[in-house]
Every structure is written in C-alpha cells, then in structure tokens.
C-alpha cells in the first residue's frame, strides 16, 4: 500500500483533494438542512487547502519528473512547447481529476440523501480552474527555483502566504477574485453572477497554459515569433478573464429571493423555501406560541415569508420577513428572536435614546417572547439585573402572560418598558 502511495503520489494527492472537498462540503451542511448550495459553500471553503496542496504537489511532481522531461525534450520530435504543456498536464490532471471525482461522489451522496437544488455548473468550473491555476503556480515556482529540494514546500507556503497577504492588504474585490482561492458562500437566496465565474475560468485556464509555455519559450535559445505570439495570446486571455471579473467587481452572488415558497399554518402562515421544508412544522409551532403570547397585539403578521437580510429582502405585502440560519432547536428559536427583534420593540430601542433600564427590560421581554435567552437571564444569579424579572415572566401562566403583554404592548413597542413594569 505504502509503495503504491509513494509511486503514484499525484494520484493519491488528487484523491486527497477529492476527499477533502467531499468532507468539507458535507461538513458545511447546516443542521436539519440538505442543500446543494451548502455543498458548494463547503467545496469553496476547501479551495484554500486544495489550492495549497495542488501548488506544492505540482512543484514536487515537476521536480521529481524533471530528469525524464529533459530526456524527452532532447529526443522528442514534437515542439518543445507541446512537450512542456503535456508534462504540465500529466502533473496537474490527477489533481483536478481528483476534485472532479469528489464532486461526482458528492452528487451521488446528494441523490441518495435527497439533497435540494442543483449545483451551479460555472461555480464548479471556476473551482476546477482554481485547482489547475494553483498547480500552474506550483509548477512555475518549481521552474523558477530550478527544481531545488525546497521547491515543493516553497510553492505551497508561497501560495498560502499570497492568499494571506491579499487578505491583509484589503485588495479590491476584483483583484482578490483573480487569486485561485474561491471562499464564497452560496445560498438559496441569491442570483449567481456568472460573468465573474466565466471570467475566472478564462483567466485561470489561460494562466494554466501560459506557465508551461512561458517556461518552454524562456528555455529556448532561438526564439521564433510563434512563441511570442502564443505567449501574447495567453496573456491577453488572462487579461480578458480579469476584465470580465472586473466588470462585476469580482462579485459572485447578488441578493435575490426566488419567491419559491411552501407554506403551512393558519395564524401565522409560515412560508419557507422548499429546501427548508423539513423545519416547517417546528417553525409553525414556534411562531404559533409567539402568536399566542402576543395575541392582543399586531406583533405577529398573518403571513411570514423566508428572506435573507439585506439586498433582496422584499416580502410580498402584507407578509413579513422570516430569517432562518438552520433548523436546529436553537436555530428555530433564533429565527423567532430575529423576527421579534426586527418587528418588536428592538427597533424603537435602536432609533432613539433610552435608558439602560429600558434596554434591559426590552431584552428580557424579547428573550421571553422568542424563547431565545441569548443574554443568559435564566441561568444568571437572581441578583443580576433582569434575571429575577425574566424568571417571573416565564413562570406566568398563558392567560396571565397574555394579559400582562396586552397591557404593556404599547410601552414595549416604543421601548418604554422599565424593569419595574415587568411582573
């Protein structure tokens, strides 16, 4: 086994890249959800690791096969450029193939587990292009460093360091999108910006061919015009890709709600994206409880539609927005808390000046309404401000609680409650 690993290392590393992609994609699934968009997010997150690995391993393989390559260059009847490109292809292909097999495996796992949605193919194309570009980077580093003993780790460390430096420099988004690490987040509530992805594919593939061609042309003693024309064409390809990326400022997604809903419940009617259907019953129960606590107020709307905060958050009138992170128990409670925070007294507390006491009273009521005790009132010592009030509020029976809230709803909505007003 170990002998096999040592003798087919790029294949084994290609497999490792595929496995890393699958593991990180499956790990990116949020609790209770099984969405292709999460898989894509995981595959994208993996690109910093797969890219670093591809850069180092390509340098290693280029160094390892340097002597046979030189021998081939001496006796081959094919053009030097073609031999060099074929050599690079033999180095990089197993790595990209490993990733593609990983995606295919993920597809099979998705089908078996009933994943919702489908992958956005240009995104996957950009990820494959990124691995090839990282390989070309490593291949180039190996050639520049004359295939020395330190070339493989140098290529890997340089690749990772370049990523870190780009982050630290706060480079413009379009220039960061040129670097072959795509750590973007996909979602059900976005429109994909294909121009950026196609730009990346063009830029990466041009760079991938440019590196071995440039090495071959630079090594030639007699350089004909054809070599220069080829190099110029490939540089133009990189430029074209960069221009396409720049056209949309390297943006990958833009906010949009496709408005594709499944609904359940009467008051309120809760509508979510079909991919979130598994949590619908729990959401209906949670919002029904909120509705019961606040029945004498207009805190709860008749229809709630799942949205994402920011651009594209536009529920159909008179529906209100509902935000979901995941479908775990705390995730559902957090959804209710975000709803209460947006449509309850939280807004008033933010827009005008209020005392600390009023902020605290508002937080206690919101924690009680949503069953999401983020500030830990329930676990705090009774001497802590708000803790005793929270306990008294949660100890009230349904009728008494509804009656108390009905009597204080106007104060709550205007952030005028104080701790003394709480039961």
């Amino acid at each position: 086994m170990m002998t096999w690993v040592r003798h087919s290392t790029t294949g084994a590393i290609g497999a490792a890249i595929g496995i890393a992609g699958v593991l990180l994609a499956l790990h990116a699934r949020r609790e209770g959800l099984n969405l292709w968009t999460d898989y894509i997010t995981g595959l994208s997150q993996a690109s910093i690791y797969t890219g670093t690995l591809a850069a180092g391993v390509s340098a290693w393989e280029a160094r390892r096969t340097h002597k046979p390559l030189v021998a081939r260059l001496l006796v081959s009847s094919r053009p030097v450029v073609a031999v060099r490109v074929a050599h690079f292809a033999s180095v990089a292909a197993p790595l990209a193939l490993g990733f593609v097999i990983g995606v295919a495996l993920l597809w099979a796992i998705g089908l078996a587990t009933g994943v919702y949605g489908s992958p956005f193919i240009p995104w996957i194309g950009a990820l494959v292009g990124a691995i090839l570009a990282a390989s070309a980077f490593g291949y180039g580093v190996s050639a520049v460093s004359r295939n020395q003993w330190y070339s493989p780790p140098l290529a890997a460390i340089l690749f990772f360091a370049s990523y870190v430096i780009l982050q630290l420099l706060h480079a413009p988004n379009w220039s960061r999108a040129l670097f072959p690490v795509i750590m973007n987040v996909d979602s059900e509530f976005v429109a994909h910006v294909s121009t950026t992805m196609f730009g990346q594919i063009v830029a990466y593939l041009s760079f991938v061919i440019l590196v071995p061609v440039l090495i071959a042309v630079a090594a030639k003693r007699r350089r004909g015009p054809s070599g220069f024309i080829l190099v110029a064409t490939l540089i133009a390809g990189v430029g074209l890709g960069a221009s396409l990326i720049g056209l949309r400022n390297g943006q990958y997604v833009t906010g949009q709600n496709p408005g594709d809903f499944v609904c359940e419940g009467a008051r309120p009617q809760v509508c979510v994206n079909p991919g979130y259907r598994a949590g619908l019953a729990k959401l209906v129960t949670a919002f029904a409880e909120l509705s019961q606590k606040s029945s004498d107020s207009d805190l709860i709307a008749s229809r709630l539609e799942q949205q994402v905060e920011g651009i594209g958050d536009s529920p159909t009138r008179p529906a209100r927005s509902l935000y979901i992170e995941d479908l775990s128990e705390s995730g559902i409670a957090f959804s209710v808390a975000r709803y209460v925070d947006r449509y309850g007294g939280g807004i008033a507390c933010r827009t005008s000046e209020h005392t600390y006491d009023q902020h605290l009273a508002n937080a206690v009521v919101q924690a009680w309404l949503s069953n999401f005790d983020e500030l830990g009132f329930g676990g705090a010592s009774p001497m802590e401000p708000g803790a005793a009030e929270f306990r008294r509020l949660t100890a009230l029976g349904p009728v008494a609680a509804r009656s108390w809230f009905g009597n204080h709803v106007r104060q709550y909505m205007s952030c005028g409650l104080t701790l003394a007003d709480l039961p």
């Binding site: 590393i13 391993v57 003993w149």
Partner: protein
Amino acid sequence: MTGAIYYARANRWLTVMVLVVATGVAVYLFGYVNCTLNPLTHVDTTMASLLPLAPAIAIQTTLATGRLQADDSAARIMSRWRVAHVLILSSMCVIALVLAAIPLTTAQSMAPAAGIKQGAVTLARNTMAFTGAALAGSSVVAPRLAWVVPVTWVLVPPLLLTRSDSAEILLLPLQPDAAFDAFVAALILFCVGTVVATRQRVVRRWHRSD
C-alpha cells in the same frame, strides 16, 4: 570536526539558519497581524502562530537532503547525527523566534481582533508541533512531501471546527500562550517525530523512494 562540518554542509544547515533569522524578522515585524483562516466561521489567528511553519518544514526537509546513499551505507550509525540535526536546528529556531516574539508578548495590543494572546510560548510550541508533525509525516509519505502534514494541520481543522469546539489538540496551532495541554501535546509530538524520523530504517526507505 570535519565530519560535523561535512554533515552540516550536506544537510544545508546554513540555509536553515538564514530561514530561521528571516522568520524571526518576520515575527518581529508582522507577528501581531491577524489573519483569518476561515472567513465563514471567523476563525482568526496571528501571523506569529503560522510563521514557524517555514523553519519547521525546512528542518525536516534538510534532514533528507543530505547524501541519503552515504547515510544509508555509512559505517557508523548516523541516527545520532540526525537526532543532533533535529535538536540543534529546532533549539536554534525556538530561541530565535522566542527572542523575536518578546515584543509581542509584552505588547498590550497583542492580537486585538482575534482576542487571543499568542507570543513567545505559541512560537516555541508551534515550532515543536510543526517540526514533530513534519518528521512524523516523513516516515509515512515521501520525505519531500512531509510538509503536507503540518500544512494540513494548519489549514483543515479551522475549516471544520470553531474555537468554541473542545478540540485543543486539533486546533493546537491557533491556541493562545496559556494552553497547557497544547504545549504538552506539541512536546510529545516533537519527541515522537524525532524518534520516528531519525531511525535508520526510515532513512533506508527515503533513499529508495528518492
């Protein structure tokens, strides 16, 4: 003495020393800078915790850059020389990086965004941990591919875990100075890696695979 000079030259000690000094300068200049390893879960760390990766990989790689054939067929046992290689270069690296990190440790504004104190102890611990991981990895994969092990250790756990997960060993490179378990684990890994990678049998395998 001639043997020692020959061994040091064949195993690129001077290159490693230059790299150690360069890393020390980088620690002094950029050690306090934060970088994000996982933007999705906001797993941050300081550059100081990542910089020992380069000298650690160099220490491991240079162990295998000497004349493996001569090493393999030498009349005298070379294991002691290899142990000395690891111990001398690692000690130098730890001392140099710890000295460079003293301003980090004393700075009040150390790692403000990440909120974690990473200074001299982190550098010493991570040097040992990365060197140990690379050495242990070299006994499994080809010696010139052993860098994959510490690189994987730095990059993959932050993608899978968050700081709130109780995974001190997996997230060892990102732990603060005060993490005692992480320090002990790094020390153990360094010892295990040194023992495993300096055995004659391993060198014989390296020689065959080189």
